[in-house]
Subunit: 341 residues, 2 copies
DNA sequence: TATAGAAATGACAGCGCTGGTCATTTATTA
DNA sequence: TAATAAATGACCAGCGCTGTCATTTCTATA
């Protein structure tokens, strides 16, 4: 019923300690000893007792994921990817939804880490972009990995997984340009999220490259929400000079813009093209379906967790390429930006 | 830095054992002793070492939540509610996304419980409705709480939180009837989910009460997905005798039906009224917004966890009303079923 | 072939807590 | 006030594992 390390040891004909060494990837275990132990572990289906390991070693085998994201699909995907990696490495995942705007968010994170004795933390925006949090975590010596917007790996970002929002936004904008649009508006996400800034920059770069000077009136501040899209689109379509295309910072905003267009009896894509970003499930379910950029969130999360384990596991082979992963969301063209004719 | 039970004991002027008694809600602790200890715990901010507790007592302070639900909003809400309760009781939540249709799902659940040494499990559909799982869990003596469709508490369902889908569906159907509709169709969810059957029954009961015999052609089998709604609505609107209203088993199906109506150039709600169920965020974001029934998932989850703790905690006061919570989702009328004139 | 030095392995204590047993103190009741 | 019950403490073992350090075994070199 309950297999302990003792059982494995006697089955393999070695000491408990040696089994422990194998379990923890410690050096100084001869190959054949290692194999013997592994065989015993497999034969007996040994599952180490996490509580005992924690207690004896004073470290833990769980990592945390803090989120405050109204986008449920994003969170679910992240969880999925993180859990995949956790299962592979025998770790557990602790999730912690919270309010990023809480004044004592830093303390809350610290408390979480210390109370649950976490081995590490995966941070997504907006937490991954809060310098106070990174500083505090470094100070107490907790490993963490950040998923952030960026395109250029650098030593300073050694514990980051980069998502190249700039390039993806550039591509989307380019797609609109190729469709013949020149008056392209941009609906921003939250200012606190650097992804919003990166996407804006990509949009601007694409325009500039075509010799188009971005029109400030076409750049509407907002937040990552449906409502923001509704409002933003309304504002844009009330301009005397209206845009012929809108690039929304994410699918939710785009869906809001779509909703708004419907209210104003604007035909999509004939009178107005709309593109989103993220490829969340509902981007396929709007009418018409949204052109967007696919962000492989599950994979991103897996990589983030792998990176974390590489840092957090004391004896893991550091040989593995420690290069930073960079993901470039890819363009998905759907009906919301079909050729206007 | 690290406060142990010893520190609390000396601070409170009692023995370690007494602190332990307080921590574990054991009887035979005088009120003022209890208060003294609690004061010390608060003063020192004592956080018991979970690993040590687990190890020594051979029980754990985490519960599991298994999900396989394409509906991210539902999952997020459940997590939120479960976590609220967990924090309150000092438990942790382990999430476990999986495939409900996997052939060895029962074994997988058993493994999860045993490997992670869970104190209990919260099951939502479809897991909560799989008799094999309930049996297996009972056999190995693991506490669990199920969230299921139902209206009548009974001893047999003592570990269930009930959601009265029947009554809510009755109300929605009634709303459509009051709007003057008589040809009301029903788009079913997955057969495996009893919620689908309950909602269908509520729909049928409402019709029958009005003296309308449900038309079998108006009842379309399907699944809880957008695509199913697209297909179902298409099928219905190709009938020679078309319905004037569609009640979809959930918001996603309803959104699909909406999409389909758009494709067929059917005006909503003028030519066709559509109602959903669940009040997921996007039910407000479709065009037009969906009439639906609000399911308080966060609260439901909280109650489920509370119920679980009541059973799982050995010394918790069983005095608390052990009556089964029954939730009746409430009708939310929006534009998708506005008066057709 | 002997031997220093390195590598592999094992013996043992102890992580922080709980559960059990029993002795002792304190409160309650007749 | 004695008798009984309730509350508390003292003490120990032990949960299953890891850390430390002593010991054994191997490897390389002369």
């Amino acid at each position: 019923m309950k297999v302990t390390i003792n059982d494995v040891a006697s089955h393999a004909g070695v000491s408990i300690k040696t089994v422990s060494r194998v379990m923890n990837n410690e050096p100084s275990v001869r190959k054949d000893t290692y194999d013997k132990v592994m065989a015993a572990i497999t034969a007996l289906q040994y599952q180490p007792n996490a509580a005992a390991r924690n207690l004896a070693s004073n470290r833990s085998f769980s990592i945390g994921y803090i989120y405050d994201n109204p986008n449920a699909y994003y969170v679910i995907d992240m969880q999925r990817g993180l859990l995949d990696a956790c299962r592979k490495h025998g770790y557990e995942l602790l999730i912690h939804p919270t309010n990023a705007k809480s004044p004592d968010i830093v303390q809350e994170v610290i408390d979480l880490v210390q109370q649950s004795r976490l081995a590490g933390l995966v941070l997504t925006p907006p937490f991954s972009e809060m310098p106070h949090i990174a500083e505090a975590l470094e100070k107490i010596g907790v490993h963490f990995v950040r998923i952030i917007s960026g395109s250029t790996p650098s030593p300073k970002l050694s514990n980051c997984v980069l998502v190249d929002d700039f390039t993806a936004a550039f591509k989307i904008t380019n797609h609109l340009l190729e469709l013949g649009h020149t008056d392209i508006a941009f609906l921003c996400g939250d200012e606190e999220h650097s992804s919003s800034g990166e996407r804006l920059a990509g949009y601007q770069a694409a325009l500039t490259k075509r010799g188009i000077t971005p029109n400030p009136k076409f750049i509407v501040p907002g937040s990552y929400s449906f409502e923001s899209g509704v409002k933003g689109a309304k504002q844009l379509m009330n301009l005397s000079k209206k845009p012929s295309a809108i690039f929304a910072c994410n699918d939710e905003i785009a869906a809001g813009a779509l909703f708004s267009a419907r209210l104003m009896n604007i035909a999509i894509p004939q009178q107005l093209a709309i593109a989103g970003f993220e490829n969340s499930p509902f981007s396929r379910q709007t009418w018409p379906p949204l052109t967007t950029a696919h962000q492989p969130n599950v994979t991103i999360a897996q990589q983030a967790a792998e990176l974390l384990f590489r840092h957090a596991k004391p004896n893991a082979s550091k040989m593995l390429s420690d290069k930073q992963p960079v993901f470039i969301p890819e363009l998905l063209v759907r009906e919301s930006t079909a050729v206007s004719e």
